[in-house]
């Protein structure tokens, strides 16, 4: 077995998962241990757990803020986010052995590809967005686009047999070798996972603090 098979298929997955988990864990702990700031809530805000969960779920799955206040970005952003959600669901159901997982995977890949492409174009050609964008903003979108492209092009998302590889990772005995095109997708995916904790793409974890600790506060 050649080096790349072992490295991408057998080593990098563990490295990337470890960095993702530890990196996000560090970030969460960093914010979690912050001293309580002076009250800085914005009214009105939900006062019950149910109300807060309701707002959270609505925001995550519909991107309501963008819908109401930044409609031009809402659709491409929603498409990209749903693409990512579906890919996560794909992995979950694939591991559970549900055959319909491949439909989630392909749909997720297509949506992530389309959404990231549209957002990239917006950022490149809409002057208002371009003026506030640093190169890293383009890089982040390009990264998502390339991961989605490689995933779709390799056919990995529609391959139910790919499940055995992920199961083998869990049992710490990776089934190798993998087709070459899968390796490209996996390499990009693992690098993306390593990259996330160091970027603002970790906003899904940070949102808890910006909403619950600051915007919604904790009235004594």
């Amino acid at each position: 077995m050649n080096f790349w098979q072992s490295f991408i298929g057998g080593v990098l997955p563990y490295v990337s998962i470890a960095i993702l988990v530890l990196g996000l864990g560090y970030k969460v702990a960093y914010w979690y241990n912050a001293p309580a700031n002076l009250h800085w809530e914005l009214f009105p805000y939900p006062r019950t757990l149910g109300g807060q969960l309701g707002e959270l779920v609505t925001e995550v799955f519909t991107l309501r803020s963008l819908f109401h206040h930044n409609r031009k970005l809402w659709f491409p952003s929603l498409v990209m986010h749903w693409g990512i959600y579906l890919v996560v669901f794909w992995l979950f159901f694939l591991l559970l052995g549900a055959p319909f997982a491949i439909y989630l995977g392909v749909a997720g890949g297509v949506l992530a590809l389309t959404g990231s492409c549209l957002l990239l174009l917006f950022r490149l050609f809409a002057a208002e967005l371009r003026q506030i964008s640093a190169p890293v903003e383009y890089l982040n979108l390009l990264f998502i686009f390339l991961v989605a492209l490689a995933a779709l092009a390799s056919g990995a998302l529609s391959d139910f047999a790919f499940r055995s590889y992920f199961i083998s990772l869990l049992t710490l005995k990776p089934h190798l070798p993998l087709p070459g095109s899968y390796l490209i997708f996996l390499l990009l995916l693992w690098l993306f996972m390593i990259y996330i904790p160091f970027t603002r793409m970790a906003h899904f974890a940070v949102k808890y603090f910006t909403y619950h600790k600051v915007k919604w506060g904790e009235i004594e």
Partner: protein, 458 residues
């Protein structure tokens, strides 16, 4: 004064010292601002906001300055935040040190420092942008933290510091009114009520152990006396045990300009407020019609002063008026205010204070024709008087206020068709007074308490 950012200058040359080297001192102060221990008061929202902006530009879609300026890039909320964020990345983050070009990190120069010092005083910290941000990033807190850093290197507008918090700490009020002049003023207000309303109202001052200590923005006595008289009439009609206080008792001015630019100054003033209230032994500190004072005393104070050290309640005069009207303690007749009245939600009372329904219930009870501005409540557009802007005039700043925030507000006001704009915040009153003049609007402004007093059935 030479141009350092746009066509306006809030900071005088004496304050900004635009040609002196200040970058090193700034970076030292900024380093301190990023330490949890040194800046616990706002460390969390500050660092979250520096780190996690997705650059989606949603904030700009609701920013009054950016929209009213015709979307000038320098007034984009992210442009303003990025002035500090680029410095943060360059000097205080690893990626910014290694790949500055990639992540948008930049060296700080004296010129950039000058521009930043001015631009952070183009935002009133109305936090409309923070309300709509999908990630709840707060450009307002970044502007305020930048002001704190500048203040730490002795760069702050005179109106807020020298003639604001420092004067207030020394004289008891930011207007510099001594006790004897204050007593004369109260006597004059009592006579004025008698002359205009035909009945006598005794205004108690410095009464110890009163149920309610009503503390106004001291500027109201000079600029918006109708509000002060209105509140006195309401207190009198309610028959409650109340008092005003003179500077002889300590602080007799509800304002706290530290809210706008400095936690150190904020703490000094809030402690003086607490000490004064304790000394007088009052049960409830009633904040007059002043938005930021309400925010300071109702919310910002909570984690700063332990509960056992503040043995009194804090309420807005609006809460009391609403309560007393609803329970019939004071009787009002809406026919006495027959003109169309609208209400402007002060950012500090509304978005930052949650006081949306009280003023509306009051005005609906006291006026026959109440109508809303659109948009309102949490999406209310800042009038441009916030952050102390209402008292900033030099460097052609009034024009900035009128041509940005003021322009949007004038359009809103015209569309409402109202002939009275009811206000519950002194900064808003100062700003609307000028908006009405600048745009020649057939409208007058009135304090909520003034309208309640006008509707009183005695």
């Amino acid at each position: 004064m030479r141009k350092v950012f746009d066509d306006y200058r809030v900071l005088s040359d004496e304050t900004l010292k635009p040609d002196e080297p200040r970058v090193e001192k700034f970076l030292q102060a900024m380093k301190k601002s990023l330490q949890q221990r040194d800046n616990w008061t706002f460390w969390l929202p500050y660092t979250l906001s520096l780190d996690t902006c997705m650059k989606c530009g949603t904030c700009a879609e609701v920013c009054p300055v950016y929209l009213a300026s015709g979307k000038k890039d320098i007034y984009h909320p992210v442009y303003r935040s990025d002035m500090l964020r680029k410095v943060y990345k360059r000097y205080f983050t690893l990626p910014g040190r290694i790949f500055p070009g990639l992540v948008g990190a930049e060296d700080l120069t004296e010129e950039k420092l000058n521009a930043m010092a001015e631009n952070i005083y183009r935002c009133t910290i109305c936090r409309r942008c923070a309300y709509v941000c999908p990630v709840a990033i707060d450009n307002g807190v970044i502007a305020r933290e930048a002001r704190k850093i500048f203040d730490a290197i002795d760069i702050a507008p005179d109106e807020l510091k020298k003639n604001g918090t420092q004067k207030q700490a020394k004289f008891g009020n930011a207007t510099g009114t001594p006790a004897n002049a204050f007593f004369d003023m109260i006597e004059f207000l009592e006579e004025e009520i008698e002359d205009t309303k035909g009945y006598k109202v005794k205004i108690p001052v410095d009464k110890e152990g009163a149920e309610y200590l009503l503390m106004h923005n001291a500027g109201d006595y000079l600029a918006f006396a109708e509000t002060v008289m209105g509140a006195a009439e309401v207190m009198d009609a309610a028959g409650v045990d109340w008092t005003l206080n003179s500077p002889a008792t300590g602080i007799n001015d509800a304002v706290n300009y530290g809210v706008f630019y400095s936690d150190v100054e904020f703490t000094t003033i809030i402690k003086a407020h607490v000490e004064t209230a304790r000394k007088l032994g009052i049960k409830t500190l009633v904040v007059g019609e002043c938005g930021h004072a309400f925010e300071a005393l109702k919310y910002l104070m909570l984690r700063l002063i332990p509960p056992e050290e503040r043995p009194f309640e804090v309420k807005s005069i609006l809460e009391l008026e609403d309560e007393w009207i609803r329970e019939g303690r004071i009787k009002v007749d809406p026919e006495k205010n027959p003109e169309p009245v609208t209400y402007h939600d002060s950012c500090k009372l509304g978005r930052l204070g949650g006081m949306y329904e009280e003023p509306r219930r009051i005005l609906k009870a006291c006026c026959t024709d109440f109508r809303e501005l659109t948009p309102n409540r949490e999406m209310s557009i800042c009038c441009g008087g916030g952050s102390g802007f209402a008292i900033m005039e030099k460097g052609d700043f009034r024009k900035f206020r009128m041509e940005t925030y003021g322009k949007l507000k004038a359009e809103q006001l015209k569309a409402s068709g109202a002939s009275i704009i009811a206000l519950a915040c002194s900064n808003c009153k100062g700003q609307f007074r000028e908006i009405i003049n600048y745009y020649q609007l057939p409208v007058r402004f009135a304090g909520v308490s003034e309208l309640v007093a006008n509707a009183l059935v005695r």
